[in-house]
Amino acid sequence: MTWDANLLWQFDMLILLMMVICAVAALSLKGLVSSAVVTGAYSFFTCLMWTHMMAVDVAFTEAAVGAAVSTVIIVATAQYINPWSKD
Protein backbone atom coordinates (compact mmCIF):
# COMPACT_ATOMS: atom_id res chain seq x y z
CA MET A 1 0.00 0.00 0.00
CA THR A 2 1.49 3.29 -1.02
CA TRP A 3 0.35 6.88 -1.16
CA ASP A 4 -1.20 7.31 -4.54
CA ALA A 5 -3.26 10.41 -4.98
CA ASN A 6 -4.50 9.39 -8.44
CA LEU A 7 -6.20 6.34 -7.11
CA LEU A 8 -7.67 7.47 -3.86
CA TRP A 9 -7.96 11.20 -3.66
CA GLN A 10 -11.73 11.02 -3.97
CA PHE A 11 -11.78 8.84 -0.88
CA ASP A 12 -9.52 11.30 0.85
CA MET A 13 -11.79 14.17 -0.04
CA LEU A 14 -14.77 12.24 1.25
CA ILE A 15 -13.14 11.66 4.60
CA LEU A 16 -12.17 15.31 4.93
CA LEU A 17 -15.67 16.35 3.97
CA MET A 18 -17.12 14.04 6.61
CA MET A 19 -14.70 15.48 9.16
CA VAL A 20 -15.85 19.01 8.42
CA ILE A 21 -19.49 17.94 8.59
CA CYS A 22 -18.94 16.16 11.89
CA ALA A 23 -17.10 19.14 13.29
CA VAL A 24 -19.87 21.53 12.37
CA ALA A 25 -22.49 19.11 13.63
CA ALA A 26 -20.70 18.58 16.92
CA LEU A 27 -20.67 22.29 17.52
CA SER A 28 -24.23 22.96 16.47
CA LEU A 29 -26.22 20.06 17.97
CA LYS A 30 -28.30 21.03 20.98
CA GLY A 31 -28.02 17.76 22.82
CA LEU A 32 -24.67 17.39 24.46
CA VAL A 33 -24.72 13.60 24.37
CA SER A 34 -25.31 13.53 20.63
CA SER A 35 -22.69 16.21 20.30
CA ALA A 36 -20.28 13.97 22.16
CA VAL A 37 -21.09 11.01 19.93
CA VAL A 38 -20.56 13.10 16.81
CA THR A 39 -17.21 14.14 18.24
CA GLY A 40 -16.42 10.44 18.52
CA ALA A 41 -17.35 10.03 14.88
CA TYR A 42 -15.14 12.96 14.03
CA SER A 43 -12.30 11.23 15.81
CA PHE A 44 -12.99 8.07 13.89
CA PHE A 45 -12.75 9.89 10.54
CA THR A 46 -9.51 11.48 11.72
CA CYS A 47 -8.34 7.99 12.42
CA LEU A 48 -9.20 6.88 8.88
CA MET A 49 -7.49 9.94 7.48
CA TRP A 50 -4.32 9.04 9.29
CA THR A 51 -4.39 5.49 8.16
CA HIS A 52 -4.65 6.81 4.68
CA MET A 53 -1.72 9.10 5.32
CA MET A 54 0.42 6.10 6.22
CA ALA A 55 0.45 6.99 9.88
CA VAL A 56 -0.92 3.74 11.27
CA ASP A 57 0.65 4.21 14.69
CA VAL A 58 -1.05 7.55 15.09
CA ALA A 59 -4.29 6.03 13.83
CA PHE A 60 -4.13 3.33 16.51
CA THR A 61 -3.61 5.87 19.19
CA GLU A 62 -6.35 8.12 17.89
CA ALA A 63 -8.76 5.19 17.73
CA ALA A 64 -8.02 4.22 21.28
CA VAL A 65 -7.60 7.60 22.85
CA GLY A 66 -9.52 10.00 20.65
CA ALA A 67 -12.46 7.94 19.48
CA ALA A 68 -12.86 5.79 22.57
CA VAL A 69 -11.56 7.39 25.77
CA SER A 70 -12.39 10.97 24.84
CA THR A 71 -15.90 10.08 23.76
CA VAL A 72 -16.50 8.08 26.90
CA ILE A 73 -15.38 10.82 29.23
CA ILE A 74 -17.27 13.48 27.32
CA VAL A 75 -20.44 11.39 27.42
CA ALA A 76 -19.88 10.68 31.09
CA THR A 77 -19.55 14.38 31.83
CA ALA A 78 -22.56 15.15 29.68
CA GLN A 79 -24.52 12.81 31.94
CA TYR A 80 -23.39 14.70 35.00
CA ILE A 81 -24.26 18.16 33.72
CA ASN A 82 -27.35 19.56 32.05
CA PRO A 83 -27.37 17.61 28.76
CA TRP A 84 -29.08 20.32 26.73
CA SER A 85 -27.14 23.25 25.41
CA LYS A 86 -28.62 26.63 24.57
CA ASP A 87 -26.63 26.89 21.34
Binding site: L16, A55, V58, V69
Partner: protein, 129 residues
Protein backbone atom coordinates in the same frame (compact mmCIF):
# COMPACT_ATOMS: atom_id res chain seq x y z
CA UNK B 1 -6.95 29.09 -13.47
CA UNK B 2 -5.70 25.57 -13.77
CA UNK B 3 -2.66 26.45 -11.78
CA UNK B 4 -4.80 27.98 -9.09
CA UNK B 5 -7.04 24.96 -9.05
CA UNK B 6 -4.02 22.76 -8.72
CA UNK B 7 -2.73 24.94 -5.93
CA UNK B 8 -5.96 24.44 -4.05
CA UNK B 9 -6.46 20.79 -4.81
CA UNK B 10 -2.90 19.55 -4.51
CA UNK B 11 -2.73 20.75 -0.93
CA UNK B 12 -6.28 19.81 -0.04
CA UNK B 13 -5.39 18.23 3.26
CA UNK B 14 -3.73 21.46 4.38
CA UNK B 15 -6.82 23.37 3.40
CA UNK B 16 -9.04 20.93 5.18
CA UNK B 17 -6.99 21.23 8.33
CA UNK B 18 -7.20 24.98 8.04
CA UNK B 19 -10.98 24.82 7.77
CA UNK B 20 -11.16 22.52 10.77
CA UNK B 21 -8.82 24.86 12.64
CA UNK B 22 -11.19 27.75 12.14
CA UNK B 23 -14.22 25.68 13.01
CA UNK B 24 -12.51 24.71 16.23
CA UNK B 25 -11.42 28.24 16.97
CA UNK B 26 -14.96 29.44 16.34
CA UNK B 27 -16.26 26.85 18.76
CA UNK B 28 -13.76 27.85 21.43
CA UNK B 29 -14.42 31.54 21.20
CA UNK B 30 -17.99 32.02 20.08
CA UNK B 31 -19.88 29.20 21.77
CA UNK B 32 -21.69 29.97 24.96
CA UNK B 33 -21.85 26.44 26.30
CA UNK B 34 -18.60 25.41 27.95
CA UNK B 35 -18.92 21.82 26.75
CA UNK B 36 -19.11 23.16 23.19
CA UNK B 37 -15.98 25.14 23.89
CA UNK B 38 -14.26 21.94 24.90
CA UNK B 39 -15.45 20.15 21.77
CA UNK B 40 -14.18 23.10 19.75
CA UNK B 41 -10.86 22.67 21.50
CA UNK B 42 -10.73 18.99 20.53
CA UNK B 43 -11.43 19.87 16.89
CA UNK B 44 -8.84 22.63 17.00
CA UNK B 45 -6.17 20.30 18.33
CA UNK B 46 -6.98 17.55 15.87
CA UNK B 47 -6.77 19.99 12.97
CA UNK B 48 -3.22 20.85 13.94
CA UNK B 49 -2.37 17.18 14.27
CA UNK B 50 -3.70 16.49 10.77
CA UNK B 51 -1.56 19.30 9.51
CA UNK B 52 1.46 17.77 11.23
CA UNK B 53 0.90 14.29 9.84
CA UNK B 54 0.38 15.71 6.36
CA UNK B 55 3.97 16.94 6.58
CA UNK B 56 5.24 13.39 6.66
CA UNK B 57 3.31 12.21 3.61
CA UNK B 58 5.32 11.59 0.46
CA UNK B 59 4.45 10.53 -3.06
CA UNK B 60 4.79 6.82 -3.45
CA UNK B 61 5.78 6.29 0.14
CA UNK B 62 4.42 3.63 2.43
CA UNK B 63 3.78 2.96 6.09
CA UNK B 64 7.04 3.53 7.97
CA UNK B 65 7.62 -0.12 8.82
CA UNK B 66 10.68 -1.68 7.24
CA UNK B 67 9.58 -4.18 4.64
CA UNK B 68 11.21 -7.56 4.26
CA UNK B 69 10.86 -9.43 0.98
CA UNK B 70 11.52 -13.15 0.65
CA UNK B 71 15.05 -13.80 -0.70
CA UNK B 72 15.79 -10.06 -0.89
CA UNK B 73 17.48 -7.36 1.15
CA UNK B 74 15.07 -5.41 3.37
CA UNK B 75 13.99 -2.14 1.78
CA UNK B 76 16.05 0.50 3.57
CA UNK B 77 15.50 3.37 1.16
CA UNK B 78 14.13 6.32 3.17
CA UNK B 79 12.11 7.62 0.23
CA UNK B 80 9.99 4.51 0.32
CA UNK B 81 8.47 5.37 3.68
CA UNK B 82 6.46 8.24 5.08
CA UNK B 83 8.46 10.38 7.47
CA UNK B 84 7.82 8.84 10.89
CA UNK B 85 9.10 11.70 13.00
CA UNK B 86 5.86 13.74 12.83
CA UNK B 87 3.97 10.60 13.80
CA UNK B 88 6.01 10.25 16.92
CA UNK B 89 5.45 13.86 17.81
CA UNK B 90 1.73 13.52 17.17
CA UNK B 91 1.49 10.53 19.47
CA UNK B 92 2.77 12.74 22.24
CA UNK B 93 0.48 15.56 21.19
CA UNK B 94 -2.59 13.31 21.21
CA UNK B 95 -1.83 12.23 24.74
CA UNK B 96 -1.32 15.82 25.77
CA UNK B 97 -4.62 16.67 24.14
CA UNK B 98 -6.47 13.98 26.04
CA UNK B 99 -4.88 15.11 29.28
CA UNK B 100 -6.07 18.65 28.63
CA UNK B 101 -9.52 17.30 27.78
CA UNK B 102 -9.61 15.36 31.03
CA UNK B 103 -8.65 18.37 33.11
CA UNK B 104 -11.11 20.56 31.23
CA UNK B 105 -13.96 18.13 31.85
CA UNK B 106 -13.04 17.84 35.52
CA UNK B 107 -13.14 21.61 35.83
CA UNK B 108 -16.42 21.62 33.93
CA UNK B 109 -17.99 19.26 36.46
CA UNK B 110 -16.86 21.54 39.25
CA UNK B 111 -18.28 24.56 37.46
CA UNK B 112 -21.60 22.71 37.23
CA UNK B 113 -21.35 21.93 40.94
CA UNK B 114 -20.55 25.51 41.96
CA UNK B 115 -22.66 27.52 39.54
CA UNK B 116 -25.33 24.96 38.63
CA UNK B 117 -24.93 25.60 34.91
CA UNK B 118 -22.35 25.46 32.15
CA UNK B 119 -23.73 28.30 30.05
CA UNK B 120 -21.23 31.13 30.13
CA UNK B 121 -23.72 33.98 30.42
CA UNK B 122 -25.53 32.28 33.29
CA UNK B 123 -22.23 31.68 35.08
CA UNK B 124 -21.25 35.32 34.75
CA UNK B 125 -24.65 36.28 36.11
CA UNK B 126 -24.22 33.86 38.98
CA UNK B 127 -20.80 35.30 39.78
CA UNK B 128 -22.09 38.82 39.85
CA UNK B 129 -24.54 37.89 42.60
Amino acid sequence: MDEFFFFIVAKYNYWASLILLFIGLYGMIAKNNLMKKIIGMVIFQTAILIFFVSIGVKWGASVPIIRFFPDKQPLLDATAYANPLPHVLILTAIVVGVAVLGVALAILQNIQRIHGTIEEDEILEDMRK
